[in-house]
Every structure is written in C-alpha cells, then in structure tokens.
Symmetry: C3
Subunit: 364 residues, 3 copies
C-alpha cells in the first residue's frame, strides 16, 4: 500500500485523485450543476484510469507472460468499458456508440499522431516493428468492416430492417470476439516472437505486490463505475450548456478522457525512442475496442440495457473509422516515422474534430 | 483415354461424375423437384470443373510456355463463364451479376484466406512473391473501379440514365478486355521473369496426351453447359425452398461451386508450402473474372441475352468487391503469411456471408 | 533576353506563343466565336505555362536551395491558380471546383501513368525513391479527406447546412495551408536528405539570368491571366457546341491544359530513366493543388468572388479524387515500375474520362 501511496506522491497526474471525493460531495449538494459535475468527473476519471492501468500491469507482471499479456490486453481498456457500460445502463446508445467510434479514431489518429510528433521532435527518424503494426492495422480494418456492414446495409429502410440489424449485430459480435481470442492466441502464444519489440519494454515499470494490485484493481474499478455514472448523467446537459454537440462530446471528449492513461504511456515511449511501445499501445488499444469492447457492449445490452443495442453506427462515424484505419495502415506500413508523419496523422484527426465541433445539432 | 480413366479412379473428387447422368435422368423424371435438381447439379458441376481444369493444363503444357500460359489464363475460369452464360441466356441478370461479384469476393477472400489458414497450420511462417501478388491486386483494383463507376454514377435517376449506363458499360467492357490482354502480354512475354514463382510449379502435375486433352476439353464444356442450364432453372425455386436469399445463392453458393477445382489446387499448394501457387490462383482468378469474364458477359448479352446487360451492380456488391480488393492488397503487400492472416481474411468473408444470409429478401 | 529568345527558337512547344496575340485579336474581331476562342486560348496557355515554369526554375536556381525550393513548390502550379482565379472572379464555381478536382486526378493518374508507360517502353524496370513518393501520397490523402468531409457531411440537407459548410471550409482551408507550410519545412529543411533524388536532377536545366527570369515571370503571369479570362468566358458555350459536358471540360480539358508544361518535364524525366523526377512532379503537383491552390481559392473567394466558395464538391469528384489517391499509394509503395504499371494507372484515368464524357448533362 505504501508503494501505491509513494507512486501517487511522485506522479502529478495522480494528485487529481483529490477530485474523486469532490465529485461525490458535489453531486449530493448540487445535483443540478451539470456543467460543474461534467468537468469534475472528467478530472476524477483521468487519475483513476492511470491507477487502473498501473494495477493491471502489476497483476500482469506477476502472473507470467502468457496470462499477464492476456490480462493486460483484456483489461487495458477497462476505463472505456466501464464508462460505456454506465451509458448503456442509462440507455444512452448514441453516447455509447459515439464513444466507441471516438475511442477507435482517437487512439488510431490522435495517440499515434501525437506519438510520432513528440518522438520526432526529439529524434530525427524513428523506427518501429512494422510486422506487429501491420497485424494490428489489419485486425482494425476487419473490425471496422464488421461495424460498417450493418450501417451500410440497413440504411435505407429502418423500420423493416430493424430485426435483421439486430440479428446481424449479434452474429458479428460473436465473430469479432472469436477473432479477438484467436488474435491473442497468435500474438501471445504461437507467433509471440513477431511481437517481441512491444512486449519487452512494458515490463520495466514499477511493479506493485499482487495483493495491493488486485485490491487496487477492484476498488478503482468500482470508483470509475461510480464516477462514470455522474459523468453520463451530466454529459448531455453540460454539452448543451457549453455549446458542444453530443457527437463532439462522445467522439472527442469522452475518448480523450478514457484514453488519458494510455496516452501518457505512449507519449513517454515515443520520447524515449521506443516507438514500438507507442504504436503497440495506440493500434493495439484501437483494435481491442473494435474487436472486444464493442461486441461486449452489444452482448451486455441484452442483460443490462433497456433494449438490444446494434452495431449500426451513424454513417459519418463509419466513414471516420474507415479513414482512420486506412491512414494508420498507410502510415505504419514502412516502420519508420518522423515529425511530419505525426503532423499528417494529427491533421486527419483535426479535420474530424473541427467537423464534429461545427456540425449543426439536428444533422447528426 | 486410359490416363483420364486412371486419373478418375485415383481422385475421389472425380467419383462425383456419377451425378452427371443422375442430373439428366432426374430432370426428365421430376422436372419440378427444384431443390433436388439444384443439389444434384452442384454435385455434378464440381467434378466437371476439376476435369476441365486438368484438361486445360494438359493442353497448355503441350503448346509451350507462352501459348500455354495464355490458354491456362483464358480458360481458367471456363466453369464460371459457362454457368454465367446459361444464366445470361435465361435473362437472369441479377444472378449473373451476383455470381460475378461473388466469384471475385470468394476467390479474393475465401480462397486466399483458407490457403493462408491451411498452409499456416502446417508451416510457421510462409513466404510468397509479393511482386506478382501486387500486380494482380492492382489489376483487380482497376477492374473493381470499372465496376464501381457505373453503379456510383447512375444510382440516383435510373430512368433517365439507362442509355448512359448501357453505353458506359460497353466502353468499359472494351477497356477491361484491352487491359486484360496487355496484362497477359506483360506476365507471359515482356516481364515473365517477375512471375517465375507461380509458373514453374504448375507444370509438375500429370499431363494428358494432347488429343485426349482437347477431346475432354470440348466434351466436358458441353456437359458443364447442359448441367448449368439445369442449375440455373432450379436455383430460384430451390433458394426459396431452402430459405436462402437469391443474393446469398449467387454470391456464395454459385461462386464456391464454380471455383471448387481451383480451390483444391490452391489449398494443396498451400499445404506443400508453395504459397506462390495459391496466391497466384486466388488473385489471378479473381482478376480474370473482373477483367475478362465480366466484360465478355456484357458483350455476350448483346448476342444471346434478351436485352443488353450493364456493369451496374447492386451497391452492396460494389462495396464488398472494393473491400475484398483492399483486404487482399493490405494482406499481400508483405509477401509473408501465417495462420492468423488467414483468420483475418476469412473473417471478412464471413462478415459478408452472414450479412447476405440474413438479408431480408426485399431489401436486396 | 537573348537566352529567352534562344530557348524559344529551340523549343517547338514555345512556337505556340504565336497564338497569344492571335487570341486577343480574335477576341476583338469575333467576340461571339466561342469555340474558336476556346481552342485558341488553349493553344496560347500551353506555351505560356512552359515559359512560366522555366522562369520559376531560373529564379529558384539563383536564390539558393531552400528559398528556391520554396519558390518552385509554391509557383509550380501558378498556371492552374491563375486560370482558377479567372473562373472565380467570373463566379463560375462549378468550373473552379471541377478544375481543382481534375488537376488532382490528372496529375495523379494521367501524369504518373503516362510517365510509367513512356519510361517503361524504353527501360525494362525503373526504380524511384519510395520515401518521398509515400510522403506525397499521404499528404494527398490527407488533403482529399479534407475535401471529402464537407461534401459527405452536408450532402443531405443543403439549405440548413449552408452556413456550417462555409465555416467548415474556411477552417479546413487554414488547416490545409498550415499542413502545406509544415510539409515544405519538412522537405526543404529538417529532412531534406530524404528527398535528395528528386531535387538534384531539376537543377540541370538551362538557367536564365535573374533579371530576365523575374521579368518573364511577371509578364507571362499577366498574359496567362488575360488569356485565362478569354478561356473562362468561352468555355461554357464551346463545351455546348462541341457536345462535351461541363464536367468533362473542367475535369479533363482544363486540367490537361494547365499541367502541359509539367507533363513535358515529367515525361522527359521518365524517358531519361529519372523516374524520381517524374513521380516528384506528378504527386508533388497534385499535393500542392490539394493543399495550397484549393484553400487559397476558398480564401480568395472572400476577396474577389461574388460569394464565399466552399470545399463542397460534387460527390462523384470526391470519389474520383479518393480513388486516384488510393491508386497512387498502391502503385508507388514499392519504388519500382514497369510499362504495365503505367497501363493500369492510365486505365483508371480512362475510366473516369469516359464516364465524364458520356455523363448526361442533367445528372452532374
């Protein structure tokens, strides 16, 4: 436990943990101050996500390579999953879908682009393992297609195709989870030597004792879930008050908040000229959301949601996911990067962010 | 002739030839048993396609490299062409187009993916010549664009653009055939050394005497034509009885049946670690259907069809062809494959197959 | 000045300068002979563009590498810019947009494809620097996305989204120009060694004294502007008389005319086995139009146009730009080319040209 407190003392990001109790107090005293609650819950989720990520890695480091890799890969996007589950339970399917699509686009474009830029400002040309980058880019491409098809096919005649879209989404969810499982088998077991670069570096961080790590994992997950509920309740009113469209909030704000901890790791890797780590986190995390978080949410909607959720996205979101995937494939196929690669990838992200920010509310 | 009989005796696939007379007898006795005739004609076409492919290769082996390669390339999809001509004569343009699009998607995704998977389960990492793979992927991309443009442009206002679509399809058909011819010149004559890998292995199979081969070629083509007619007549009623949509039958069933013989060759190549052969058959066959079979069908519709056929496809089919081409380009650009590459490509195929299977009939 | 006259004497292309006075005389005598004026102004613009390009290079050669490269890159598409400004002032926004989209497609497909074909007919296999090709392909991809988003988002409900499209176009214009500036910083300053291949060869042409070059630059720009005005005034009537759609004229004719001088340089480079030069001109010029000319025109429309111009294109134009970019990325990723690569790229261009030629006027 001392270790955890010590980590907190030396990591300015974790000082934000102060906002966790503040959120709950504020919710009791001012339940209608949506914009305030919205801002506070964002500030509270960021350090919790960082703690969650550190705890997951500590558990993973203790349980050996294969199981550890599995845990790390599966719990890596726990924050996004918990936020999305809170929105799911509240029946805010638009927000759930926007945050899934936004997480894919943010991880692929913003995290990758900013890593290239930050790394490239320090190092002239950086190299990374193109094999693992390509496997993840193709996985992401497959998942994007699975998310594209229900939207493309059932666009025209919503009423008649509702049952079809629902069955299709269920089948595709199982297909995606199966592919995700086989991908773990591939990268952690049968062909792990191809992914060497990214794995080895992750083990070097400070590791907590297993009991502390497990307790932190459980406790922090509960806290994230509670804060997420405040966040989901306040987001719609806050967006209105701040003049942001709901698409912008889900796509950009929620996605950046949910991925804050991973971003810190990816950027620090890029500065240390370990671009393998950054590319692995960015594309791996995006692939995981598409192949694992999205289908799990579809399945979870049958258990905890007011109605089954489908994989049918707003067409603009599908186009953005597809373009993000293509950009990542194009840019990562060489295994080399410089600062301008980062500018180009961030440019694509900015185009999307500007468009969503300006989008008139009704047209979404 | 003994050689042919000997081949038949040792190849369990060819025992299915028994179904050829059964189809004709059954058609006389039970002309209304559509589902039965549908199943029997599929079982009869598979071994005929295998014989056709063997006869073509035997003729090709006798006539020297350049002419042989030409023959092999041009008659390689004879089965698909004959089935499609039968559907064309019956005026079933939906089926013709679905089978063309389905053959491209099936060859690109299913044949390539299953080759990667079957080869990868036996060999850790397999290598293939990325140059010839890329030439074929780009050819396929060009052809897909030619098939995409008429559908994209004339979508909005069908009545007014009918004449335009027809003229455009005719021009594009000539352009595709010219590109196909120049592609043969390139791969068989001016730059044949780039395609060495795939060529050399095909010559090793058993070769029939030229007279036997030519006679088999002629006789079996007639048989395929006759069985195809039964198949085309029964397919619509059978699909209805089996609860399959017409899109699924054309796209998946017909395509798998027509390519059965090539698949056997591609899979056996992959198991023997000759992935060059498998990739060459899969992408070459898809490129050939797009660049040669599709435009020939457009031209043939002026001679034998009830009305001119255009290159305008159902938008979903265009999207699927485009995604299949992009997937093949992404996955084959490295010249290396492992079992998980196969899983990813097959995953895309499964997404399409599931969607077509579930698609409500009216929405097609 | 003798140098300029000498160049003119030895370059048959420049004999066409004779048509410059002919255009002005003819416009005075026969202001209604639109088809004649259209043809004459095309014949007059081609040699002016060649002079402009030679003058720019001479100035660039004198001012040292960095400033020279900047000048060369920024004034390289001066002809296209001047023609488009003339159309902008006349309020012909359809023509402006068609010529921008057409210049991107023509440079990417026709110039690149014809370079591959002409070079490949003389040399068996040609190599070029894939790094600079890829940087330019990705820049082009980014710019195409910026042009795609306003069209994709505001398609549905034109009236309500007009203000949104206008603001979005303005923001994207600034983003594109900023990216263009950073790209120059990258290729001329921080990472110039990656672009060595293309730079070194351009310096070898004959260089004019700086005074002559500057005077030519100024004088010829004025002449191009005057001739462009005649061209823009006559193009619509001429297209009608010649039975060509306006889309075809803007996309194909104007684009080919504007790029004539660069094409001469690119083709001559390809024949001399300096494919680096050809690929650099083709993709660099396309990227420049997308990242610099297009946004400058948007900004200029606020100053000299009758109304603000947006970046919203006809959907078909967006699809064509996207396909052109993808084709260039696919074909240039290897750094090798043969004559058939040229055939494939030209094939895609022909598909577009045929479609635009046949397109019924109302459906545009």
């Amino acid at each position: 436990m001392n270790q955890v407190l010590n980590d907190i003392r030396h990591n300015p990001l974790l000082w934000l943990l102060l906002f966790v109790p503040v959120v709950f107090v504020c919710q009791q005293l001012q339940p209608a101050a949506h914009t305030l609650l919205f801002a506070l819950s964002i500030l509270a989720i960021v350090p919790l996500a960082a703690l969650l990520s550190q705890a997951t890695e500590s558990v993973a480091a203790k349980t050996g390579d294969a199981v550890g890799g599995l845990l790390n890969a599966t719990l890596g996007n726990l924050t996004e999953l918990v936020i999305a589950l809170a929105a799911l339970r509240a029946g805010q399917y638009m927000l759930v879908k926007a945050s899934v699509a936004g997480a894919i686009v943010t991880n692929t474009l913003f995290m990758l682009g900013a890593s290239f830029l930050l790394g490239g400002l320090k190092h002239h040309v950086q190299e990374f393992n193109p094999v693992s980058a390509r496997v993840q880019a193709v996985q992401l491409f497959l998942a994007t297609i699975a998310l594209l098809v229900p939207s493309a096919v059932s666009g025209a005649d919503a009423a008649r195709t509702a049952a079809f879209t629902q069955t299709l989404s269920l089948c595709l969810a199982f297909l995606l989870i199966a592919t995700y499982g086989l991908g773990l088998l591939f990268s952690l077991k049968t062909h792990r030597e191809l992914f060497r670069g990214a794995e080895h570096t992750e083990a070097e961080e400070l590791v907590w004792p297993i009991g502390v790590a497990l307790a932190t994992l459980a406790g922090v997950t509960v806290l994230v879930a509670l804060v997420s509920e405040v966040f989901v309740e306040s987001v719609q009113e806050a967006a209105l008050a701040l003049g942001m469209t709901q698409a912008f909030v889900g796509f950009i704000v929620v996605a950046l908040v949910g991925a804050a901890a991973e971003m810190a790791a990816a950027f620090s890797g890029a500065r240390k000229n370990r671009l393998d780590l950054s590319v692995g986190i960015a594309l791996g995390s995006a692939a995981q959301i598409a192949l694992f978080v999205a289908p799990v949410l579809v399945l979870a909607s049958y258990a905890i949601g007011p109605a089954p959720m489908t994989l049918q996205f707003w067409p603009g979101a599908v186009v953005m996911m597809l373009i993000a995937t293509l950009t990542a494939s194009l840019i990562s196929s060489t295994g080399r990067a410089a600062w301008f690669s980062g500018v180009l990838v961030l440019g694509v992200y900015l185009i999307f962010a500007i468009t969503l920010y300006l989008l008139p509310p009704r047209v979404q």
